[in-house]
Amino acid sequence: MRAGLAFDDVLAAAQAGAAWAFETLYRGLAPTVIAYLRLHGAADPDDVASETFLGVFTGLPGFRGDEEALRSWVFTIAHRRLIDDWRRRSRRPRLADDAGDLTLLAGGDAEDDALVRVGTDDVHRLCAGLPDDQRAVLLLRVLADLTVEQIASVMGRSVGSVKALQRRGLRSLRERIEKSSEIVPGTRVPLAARPAMTGVR
């Protein structure tokens, strides 16, 4: 959210149709939505995201909730648009042949935080190797900061089902990483470049 503006003010203005509020919400949410769609293999992530936000903005007058609820609602619409995109294309998202060239760069000692870096292409390959539902659960947790309960609502599944999907997704992910990774010591990633490791978002 833009500095100095309370979420409630932005939401109220957006519900009244103010362009600046639309832009504020779009700038705040679009990067994660587009990343979610891209890592799911959407053919045109920008276009699907645009359709998502058109649906969000036109439906905003009926929305009630806080910022967290809005984010969950936005990803609900994004997930549905993604499924529509899959159906239009009548095929699963792009899958990598293998992750054999996956390279993990690590360094430091065991007492420090894990110092590993994964390239963008590697992330795409790892995500493409996961089943759709498992990938959706992991990405919604990492990108959208949604809880298991919120993801259950987004995907229209039970909480237990989402927990099972997360467990299987993590297992599959770990196996692929362990099988194909090549640890290269000596490359240390600065702490400032690792917000996910430090909790700074």
């Binding site: 995201a49 467990r167 978002r201």
Partner: protein, 329 residues
């Protein structure tokens, strides 16, 4: 071989990653994956045409193009008339949109915008040379100081080399500053009571019928509140909805009467100037009087119900309140 313990450890590490807690070295690969996924969410993306328009204009769309029902056929009007119709409809949409933007802006931005409109209005009047001499001289001096224009009444004698389009350019509506939302938080955009802006923005679709919409606008005197020609605004909306004279009459709307009853506005070319001048002139025009009468009488008593009557004011509004009659045994 993956065991249940491994799954639990991976889940714990995953939860730790999501909450920013440190993770064991065994989860380095998972941590790297999480970090890379988050790092991929930095590109703002390119909105498509529909979303870009929505981000630029909000939900206040400019329906400047005539609908197919009103487009000319064999007996189509001349092109000039078509342009005038489009101008009126554009004004009918742009003016409420401008008002909404001002309303949704902060107090500082509103002051800036108001000052900008007044400056444009005064500058335009100064260029035309219709201001009183002292004011004309001052305006001319200021404008000539900050612009290359020569204006009648300034220190220098106006030359013929000043192109006319440059003078008219000073009244370009595009020079009206837009609200600067980055410098001030927006005011509350909604009102619980009747709002003329809301009435104009939502249009007849927000009312049970077209007649009800017109009636509400008449009752609350939105023509005065918005500074627009009420009859033309209603006519524009009627054209958008494809209502002809008979249907309007059936809805209880006499377009001719509405057009004739509303105050005359300035020419369309000076719409923005009119906005500012109406603000100052509104206090000189009298508003219609309001009459209220209340009467209470207990059964068996001789109380008289009060009657209130008010005449339409011209120059000053008049209000009449009926007396209240109360009687007891």
């Amino acid at each position: 071989m993956t065991t249940t313990a491994d799954d639990s450890a991976a889940e714990e590490a995953f939860e730790a990653l999501l909450t920013g807690r440190p993770v064991p070295f065994e989860a380095a690969g998972l941590a790297a994956f999480t970090e890379a996924v988050r790092a991929s969410a930095t590109r703002p993306g390119r909105p498509n045409a529909a979303l870009a328009e929505l981000l630029a204009t909000g939900l206040l769309t400019d329906q400047s193009e005539p609908s197919t029902r009103t487009a000319g056929t064999d007996g189509s009007p001349p092109a000039r008339r078509g342009a005038r119709v489009r101008n009126r409809r554009r004004f009918a949409m742009i003016f409420p949109a401008l008002l909404a933007k001002i309303i949704s802006a902060g107090a500082v931005a509103q002051a800036d915008t108001g000052a900008g409109v007044v400056v444009v209005a005064v500058t335009g009047a100064g260029v035309v040379g219709v201001l009183p001499d002292p004011v004309q001289d001052t305006v001319a001096s200021v404008v000539e100081t900050v612009t290359p224009l020569d204006i009648e009444g300034g220190d220098e004698v106006a030359g013929d080399e000043v192109p006319g389009e440059d003078q008219t350019g000073t009244t370009d509506p595009g020079t009206v500053p837009t609200p600067v939302v980055e410098t001030a938080p927006p005011a509350e955009p909604t009102e619980a009571e009747f709002s003329a802006e809301t009435w104009a923005l939502e249009g007849p679709d927000a009312y049970p019928s077209f007649g009800a919409w017109v009636s509400a606008g008449t009752h609350h005197d939105v023509a005065k509140a918005l500074g627009v020609r009420f009859g033309e605004l209603v006519s524009s909306r009627a054209r958008e909805k494809g209502l002809d004279a008979e249907e309007l009459a059936a809805a209880g709307v006499d377009l001719g009467e509405l057009t004739g009853a509303t105050p005359t506005a300035a020419p369309e070319a000076e719409q923005e100037t009119t906005v500012a001048t109406r603000e100052t002139a509104s206090g000189e025009r009298g508003s219609g009087g309001n009459g209220n009468g209340n009467g209470n009488a207990v059964a068996g008593s001789n109380g008289n119900a009060g009657n209130g009557k008010a005449a339409a004011g011209n120059g000053a509004g008049s209000n009449g309140n009926g007396g209240k009659g109360n009687g007891r045994d």
